[in-house]
């Protein structure tokens, strides 16, 4: 998404806008949610920091929508257009979210069984955004992609360009949804409603954790795009292989000597799939009913 924001930013810049684009990360490593912001104006931009009331929100990974910690819907109002990269329809999202925002969907290809297409989602989002803004020409979008991906091989750049242009064309009927509006002066600034914490003496305020392994509260299972599913018919019960190699301690010996995967925490690295001597673990795309069946959840 960082690259997507840079492509959009560069394209706007080429069109003569003043632009800010910036990624925002948490402290976490690869796989955790990341945000990127783009702010553009024909006038000099004096505003800084995160965008509190976005005109456009693009969600590349739909599984983040229900995650409160990801906060992808924060600041959403009736001026917002929400574009979700999703297998579902806009109507389904409208029903789910019941928001005043306008909802569009960038359809996710159902054939994405492998991870291969996932790296192109970012450029597709940038292409869609460019059309929604309505002020970016095909030529400048392509130039921006080539500029931002200059370090990649020509065939990868080509593939990215194709994906971006596909998305650009798909959004044709929504061209210009995103409009520039009034300037944000300092006077219009609303103080965020945060809680002021009093300054306390170190003994009280210094963090100390008096419990073991509290990290289990963090559901890293949400990072997954693919889910390892054990076929118990073929599993040899050599749990020591998958359970030892799983970096996340997310596979342990369960009942009857079979390994058990903790889907709340499995990050979807698929080391178990690669290492299972019996080839009894399959990688299934998260949205497939088969993935949910593994957890005994109705899809």
């Amino acid at each position: 998404m960082k690259t997507a924001s840079r492509i959009l930013g560069t394209a706007l810049f080429l069109e003569g806008f003043e632009v800010q684009d910036a990624p925002r990360y948490g402290a976490e490593r690869r796989g955790a949610p990341i945000f990127a912001y783009v702010r553009a104006s024909r006038e000099p931009i004096n505003e800084r920091g995160i965008i509190r009331q976005p005109h456009l929100i693009i969600v590349a990974d739909e599984t983040l929508v229900p995650v409160p910690a990801a906060g992808v819907l924060s600041g959403i109002t009736k001026i917002t257009t929400l574009l979700v990269h999703s297998f579902e329809s806009p109507e389904t999202w409208q029903e789910r979210l019941n928001t005043p925002a306008r909802i569009l969907v960038l359809p996710a290809a159902d054939t994405v069984e492998e991870r291969e297409d996932i790296p192109f989602v970012g450029t597709a989002c940038a292409g869609a955004a460019a059309r929604l803004v309505g002020e970016i020409s095909r030529e400048f979008l392509i130039e921006a992609i080539h500029h931002e991906l200059a370090h990649l091989s020509p065939d990868i750049v080509q593939k990215n360009t194709e994906k971006a242009m596909e998305a650009y064309d798909l959004m044709a009927s929504h061209e210009g949804y995103i409009k520039e509006d009034g300037d944000f002066s300092g006077g219009a600034y609303e103080k965020p409603d945060w809680v002021d914490l009093p300054f306390e003496e170190a003994r009280r305020s210094a963090p100390a954790i008096h419990a073991a392994a509290t990290s289990v509260e963090v559901k890293t299972g949400l990072w997954r795009t693919m889910r390892p599913v054990i076929d118990f018919e073929h599993c040899n019960r050599c749990w020591w292989v998958c359970s030892t190699f799983c970096p996340d301690s997310a596979i342990e010996l369960g009942e009857d000597g079979f390994p058990e995967i903790d889907y709340d925490h499995c990050k979807g690295c698929m080391i178990c799939v690669a290492q299972c001597p019996a080839h009894a673990i399959e990688a299934v795309a998260e949205h497939k009913p088969k993935a949910h069946a593994a957890e005994g959840v109705e899809s």
Partner: protein, 306 residues
């Protein structure tokens, strides 16, 4: 290795439940986390970690920790000095009978290769000189992983990093941390990799029973920094051993013993070609000169092993 007294003869003997908590912020497929989870199972929960800035610093960020005991975060260069303080405090508390000797803890330094080979080296050298009773775990992802994989003194020759992006990659050579440690004549030094868990388990088991300065250097395939599919992390670790790039060995009582001597070593490029950080050695054209140089260095190493 002395096979007689180990509880770990084969993979089946490895722990079936794990001490390290789930839900850490490490990347999916992190080879460093894999090694730490395997090591922690055998070290046990009576362990206090002293960490220097790096990826693993994010393991314990308030209020979350995957550990079952304490954690102390120090500056990048001073984890062994921090360990000295913790060790001394424990010794004094036990001596003054303010805590029972059964409450004693293993003091373990946990840092990356950047801290271990670079800025932390003088604190380390001092700690070994003072015969500090501690275990140092260095997870070696061959670069400054946490800040975007800039080169470190453990980066191997020709690897691409954020600071060596040219057509020949990193111009320097990987520092020999094992030998630097061994030259201090500490109690124990070993190389391990999460992909060889039985070898790793035996070494942790053995070092745990010893006193004095002990070091475990864990090669840590890093999907993010080395640019490979996270799924391949174990395969890459195994290939590092089989091709001879990562010799599994230990130092004790003044002697170096190789714990796993690869029989017929496949060409090193089997290991290199799975990693994007070496892609420039294969595309657009094969860089025969560099590939031959890398192979020759590995061959020369093993020629020197009896």
């Amino acid at each position: 290795m002395n096979e007689t007294k180990t509880a770990f003869k084969r993979m089946k003997d490895l722990p079936s439940t794990h001490l390290l908590g789930t839900g850490t912020p490490m990347c999916a497929g992190c080879g460093g986390l894999q090694a730490i989870h395997e090591i922690y199972d055998i070290l046990g929960e009576k362990t206090v970690f002293v960490n220097a800035a790096g990826c693993m610093t994010l393991l314990s960020v308030y209020p979350f920790t995957p550990f079952r005991g304490s954690w102390l975060y120090t500056s990048m260069g001073s984890a062994p000095a921090g360990a000295q303080g913790v060790r001394d405090a424990l010794d004094i508390l036990i001596q003054k009978k303010r805590i029972d000797s059964r409450e004693n803890l293993n003091v373990v330094v946990l840092t990356g290769d950047g801290a271990a080979n670079g800025i932390g080296m003088s604190a380390t050298s001092g700690a070994i000189e003072r015969d500090l009773d501690f275990i140092y775990i260095c997870y070696d992802n061959e670069g400054y992983g946490n800040t975007g994989q800039q080169y470190s003194s453990a980066t191997p020759h020709a690897a691409r990093t954020a600071t060596s992006k040219g057509p020949r990659g990193f111009p320097g050579y990987k520092k020999d941390l094992f030998s630097i440690w061994a030259s201090h004549k500490p109690t124990y030094v070993a190389t391990v990799v999460g992909a060889e868990p039985v070898d790793l388990a035996r070494k942790v088991e053995k070092s745990k029973k010893m006193k004095g300065p002990r070091m475990l250097i864990a090669l840590s395939p890093c999907p993010t920094g080395w640019d490979f599919n996270p799924m391949e992390a174990v395969e890459i670790g195994k290939l590092a051993v089989r091709t001879g790039v990562w010799p599994l060995k230990e130092y004790a009582d003044g002697k170096v013993v190789h714990t796993k001597i690869p029989g017929r070593r496949p060409p090193v490029e089997e290991y290199l070609k799975l990693q994007g950080r070496y892609a420039h050695l294969f595309r657009p054209d094969r860089n025969e000169t560099l590939l031959r140089e890398i192979q020759a260095r590995v061959d020369a190493y093993w020629d020197g092993v009896e």
